[in-house]
Amino acid sequence: MLAAVLSTLTVALSFLEELLPPLPIPGAKLGLANITVMYALCGVSVPCAAGMVIVKATFALLRGPIACLMSTVGSLLSLFLMALTKRFFWDKLSFVGLGVVGAVAHNMGQWVISYLLLGFAMTYYAPLLLLLAIPAGVITGSVLNVLYPYLQNNSLFRKG
């Protein structure tokens, strides 16, 4: 039940992000959906978060197969590194640190795909997106830093 609610929210957030006015930098995104993924990772379980990521990637098919591939690889790599970070450093971090790790990893995953599809060309554009991943991670992480205690107090979002 909780996994379904969180998956729905993840998809809704990624669609909401499409509706926001586009940033002046082509390809740059805020990554709002990472808010629910990070919540699932820390408040529920890693498999739950992985399932949500796959649901989200499936919906990215609506934006085309390449968007779907980038979403899948980017968010799985992001989830993998966030899970590792959480496992070893969670006592020293808040969601801001976790969000930055996730945003940067997502970026790297997408960079690998664009490199495989396009060759060296994207390399010249990637650092700008990498730079922008940092404020994106800080914003999503700060949102969850504020929301997490409230969500944990809500029976709909609490595990079990």
Binding site: S94, A121, Y124, P127, L130, G141, Y148
Partner: protein, 121 residues
């Protein structure tokens, strides 16, 4: 939740990594001489010292219009849905790139003599 010390460590590491990537790839900036257009059908080079416009056929039936005008190049139109390449605008510096991932087409400016050795540029 409050910020912890580890958050600052992550931020610092990420910032150092991102900034050094930026410097590594973009520094130094020099005016380019040649546009390299990579399409599924192959790679074509065009001198930037001309005024011309042409189209390139990408994958999925996407056609891109490319313009070269006095030392700069741009993707003027693209049949792709996201228009990332068009929004990249005019490119004139060596290393600048516009890429259309759905069409599998990229435009890159190369050439010009870098001020530093080939390793850092």
């Amino acid at each position: 939740m409050k910020l912890r010390r580890g958050d600052y460590v992550v931020l610092l590491l990420a910032a150092v990594a991102a900034v050094s990537c930026c410097l590594q790839i973009w520094w130094p900036r020099v005016a380019g001489e040649t546009a390299v257009v990579v399409a599924p059908t192959g790679e074509q080079r065009y001198s930037l010292s001309q005024e011309t416009a042409f189209t390139v056929d990408g994958k999925n039936g996407i056609v891109l219009s490319i313009e070269i005008d006095d030392g700069r190049v741009r993707v003027a139109h693209s049949g792709c849905p996201d228009q990332v390449c068009v929004h990249s605008g005019w490119l004139s510096q060596s290393g600048q790139t516009a890429a259309c991932v759905p069409a599998g087409v990229s435009v890159r400016v190369i050439g010009g003599s870098p001020k530093v050795d080939g390793v850092t540029s």
